[in-house]
Symmetry: C2
Subunit: 588 residues, 2 copies
């Protein structure tokens, strides 16, 4: 492909699409695909979803008058073609600018992006809001929500559809049906989508029609012409319309068309001919989790692993899922259901273990509180990836401590090594008294080599790792290593033998221990890998509020950060050992 012959050279905004021939649009699709593959193979990112949506994106921008007409992308992990067409192609053509734009829609980048999103199932609701505001002011623009079939399993999407259908004015929901979530789709709805695909949209039993939508079907959703024709038909509709398009996830790249789950998101270099995946034989918190569950299953058929459509987060590989068989359930993107389901399982004698990413556990707060904790059912929830990261603002994982630890009844545990984690996991699944959540460490696995024989039913008993005086350091979970480091520095620099504590329990205070510290300590230092507001340290500060001891809380600030490096964040939050030491010195 010679640069001078590229159709894309002529396209700097959606307006430029209007002058292209059908033939040119097909070439443009190919060019966009090539750019996406090249860029994603360099930086890593969502591959399959973007390859599948190229033609639909071109057709949408061709037919509709964006940005006046408004497109809301669900999850927005499929917005790369949209970014290329809306003035940001340099982020894909110029390797120096590969990281200039985020992988999600971002209003600060472009007026063509309406919302900053990254969680699923939100687009229809957001679009209904846009449309209703338009109606109140008497506007005429089209409002379009583009949502994948996988996202339809999330309750918020249903709530949005149910309301969109009775809006009484223009809203166009485009369902991008590639017959996949990240992994396979799960749920009764998907049989209906299949029926609709198999009948060219003609089946009378139609989920979308049942909700009241004027329904349209495009069988070849990777054919620009068909798409343009249908979008033209529904443009300026005066009532709610749903366009169901069948696309191919990974379209144009054979391996991605074949193994759709694997190529949903790729790491740098993965498309290279000589790429060979780094197969780690080392143990990780993920591998010891799946090993534990598989071993357990051999003795106990009541164990059941659950994932809300994100099995990769917890190392629930295809192989693991197959081995678990009927003792594994992927509930689809349905975190609320996942938690209530786990509660029901536990109530009826099973031992559910729900694995969920920190950023997504917040989609089920009410279920954690009402369906689970209020009923005190002994389900086990594993929160993965909890901690401060340099992630996108949509996928921060520093809020799970305030979220979970302020719910009554729940026991939220923070292990610091392999043996402790396994002991807690075993206790959690075997006991019958509490709903237990474990914050699986997000760091290189540490092993003590010694079996942990702690009785975790004695709640809120912190572990005193080393007894000392003057300063007591509470290093919670991921940040226990930081506590060790501070202890060493205090000894080296100030000659202080600090007390080092592994709290283990996020949800309670070890009152006996805290009281005992008063006799020979002047300062308590708390370290937590999460946001300070509402977290662990503040409870310790409150506890010591009526004493003469001083308390310093270290953790993240309450803010949305967007792809800020961990180094910079640690610096900003005073989490570097030298900064912490300086703060301690000031308070001695």
């Amino acid at each position: 492909m010679e640069k001078t012959l590229m159709v894309l050279d002529k396209v700097n905004s959606p307006q430029d699409l209007k002058n292209l021939s059908a033939e040119e649009m097909i070439r443009l699709s190919e060019e966009i695909r090539e750019l996406i593959m090249k860029k994603v193979n360099t930086t890593g990112g969502h591959l399959g979803p973007n390859l599948g949506i190229v033609e639909a994106t071109i057709a949408l921008h061709y037919v509709f008058n964006t940005p006046e007409d408004k497109i809301v992308f669900d999850v927005s992990h499929q917005c790369y073609p949209h970014k290329i067409l809306t003035g940001r192609k340099e982020g894909f053509t110029d390797p120096d600018k590969y990281l200039k734009y985020t992988g999600y829609t971002a209003p600060e980048e472009s007026e063509y992006d309406l919302f900053k999103v990254g969680h699923t199932s939100t687009s229809v609701s957001l679009a209904v809001g846009l449309a209703k505001a338009r109606d109140l002011r008497g506007g005429r623009e089209n409002v379009i929500a583009l949502i994948g079939d996988g996202s339809l399993s999330g309750g918020e999407a249903f709530e949005g559809l149910d309301n969109a259908a009775v809006l009484g004015s223009n809203i166009i929901v485009v369902v991008n049906d590639n017959d996949m979530s990240i992994a396979e789709n799960e749920g009764g709805l998907y049989a209906n989508l299949k029926l609709l695909r198999n009948t060219n949209g003609q089946a009378e039993c139609n989920f979308f029609k049942a909700l009241g939508f004027d329904y349209h079907y495009v069988d070849n959703g990777n054919d620009v012409k068909s798409l343009i024709s249908t979008f033209n038909r529904v443009k300026d509709s005066d009532h709610p319309v749903l366009v169901h398009i069948r696309t191919i996830k990974g379209k144009g790249y054979a391996p991605a068309e074949t193994d759709k789950e694997h190529y949903h998101w790729i790491v740098p270099g993965e498309l290279d001919k000589d790429y060979s995946p780094a197969v780690s034989q080392e143990e990780s918190y993920e591998s010891i989790t799946t090993d534990y569950l598989l071993k357990k299953l051999k003795q106990d058929n009541s164990i059941i692993a659950i994932s809300p459509a994100t099995p990769g987060v917890s190392g629930f590989t295809k192989e693991f899922r197959e081995k678990m068989g009927k003792n594994y359930t992927d509930v689809g993107i349905a975190e609320q259901h996942a938690v209530a389901f786990a509660s029901g399982l536990a109530k009826n004698g099973a031992k559910p273990v729900l694995a969920i990413m920190s950023s997504f556990v917040q989609r089920a707060y009410d279920q954690l509180s009402q369906d689970l904790a209020l009923n005190n059912n002994p389900a086990t929830i594993l929160v993965f990836w909890g901690g401060i990261t340099g992630a996108d603002a949509t996928h921060l994982t520093k809020y799970d401590i305030p979220l979970i630890s302020n719910i009554p009844n729940i026991v939220y545990l923070a292990p610091v090594n392999k043996e402790e984690y396994l002991a807690m996991l075993d206790w959690a699944t075997e006991q019958k008294d509490y709903s237990v959540v474990i914050r699986v460490p997000m760091c290189q696995m540490v092993s003590t080599g010694e079996k942990d024989t702690t009785d975790y039913s004695i709640l809120n008993k912190y572990q005193v790792v080393e007894s000392g005086s003057e300063v007591a350091i509470l290093g919670l979970g991921n940040f226990f290593w930081l506590g060790q480091k501070i202890k060493t520095l205090l000894k080296e620099r100030l000659g202080i033998s600090a007390t080092l504590i592994n709290p283990r329990y996020i949800t309670g205070i070890d009152i006996d221990l805290m009281e005992s510290l008063k006799s020979n300590h002047r300062l308590i230092v708390t370290l937590e890998d999460g946001v300070l507001e509402g977290g662990f340290g503040e409870k310790i500060a409150s506890y010591f509020g009526d004493s003469d001891l001083k308390v310093l809380n270290f953790g993240a600030r309450k803010e949305f950060t967007d792809r800020i490096s961990l180094d910079e964040l640690y610096n900003r939050y005073h989490l570097n050992p030298e900064q912490i030491l300086a703060d301690i010195k000031q308070n001695l």
Copy 2:
């Protein structure tokens, strides 16, 4: 009705139903209705939902072998007939025991109750969990979820149905369709339910069939015989079944059949012949809210009030709703959508004001964080009834401060009087920089008579109501009066002129003011009407952790309380003025 002739005398457990004739079951229905009306008219409670479900409850317990067969009640506000039939009729026949049993299912009361529930849309998910656990152990019992049509608009119900449909084994979902939520149903789904009712369940376009259920319809859901016949047909089904029954909300009591919204829940005495509702002409926080919105609408068509199916919570009466017209939206029981919808509205230039009860705002945490706060869209959310109460464990309202105030970007305000509230409300709807939540005071309205001219765009500026020394009292929102009281007591008893502060902002610390307190104060006292863990006071304690000032935090403990009187709770939490004074004295 003479006592000796009652059929109910023969019924002490579901087993006793099996010996009744059809005729006796009809009489039993009437007896149960009468008991419910009498009891609810004495204690207050849910009337319409219980009157409508009498026959279905009898039929369920007649056909199924409870408690081995398991019935999960959605919301469970319709469980009165169930309680009467499962060994708890004394709670309805004996006025002295009217308060012995809760108005919701409660496992601690009876093995016939599976879960403690009170929030909507959870039953199907919980039942799927029970059923899956049964399958893992090779059990054979039936699992039944009983869910109202209103609850179907909640996303969790959809997630549950979507998963129930692919369970591959026995689960029976009974949809109790009385064509009402608390208020009218809203959403596209309801047109489909209507179509199904109008076609005797025969319409091909069928929401439940589209999800994959084996669908059955009972047109007269208040006819025990029809119900028994259909339940017998689906009993022991080896696959997921849905039974759609049409019932009459308020059945058997004409006024309740006519005004279904009003009689959803009644106050004591409401069924008396000489009952006349106490029509308050006094202003309340509800009335000044609706007055504000109606007045605003006259000048500004972009204002829009939103309720997630609970208009009564915020005083959104029928009259108000009619006056607002298209500038009012009830989204149905769909809190997630409500928040995202508000964000979309704000993004496109409208001024949304979403009114929601504290206990239900927690159903939309992820939407508050991702759909709203991350996008910084200027929606206004009014949280009603936030504070410590003697309510059922399912409807506690003390968690909204930790829930909301630890989300970045959101400005969470706590007004203490009429003028402050109105000034905040006006600022919130007019500004364009923040997502604003206001905790509407839950107490007798206080008016200063003076317009509040504060510029609320200067964030986190607390109001110093009286300047003093030694002790500084931060009386947040509802508990400002308590702060005033403590100040008076400190003067009277200890001769201390304390500083009294109205923080106004829950989401930030007034650092300048806090620093200034250090010079002439020894103790900071925080008072908040909510749970301490993760709340406001702990942040103040953390702030002063490195200083010599002591901090005492007063508020509720993290625990689920169930119908414990406010007096007892205040006592337990050291919230009585004398207790607070004693605690302060100890720390001076």
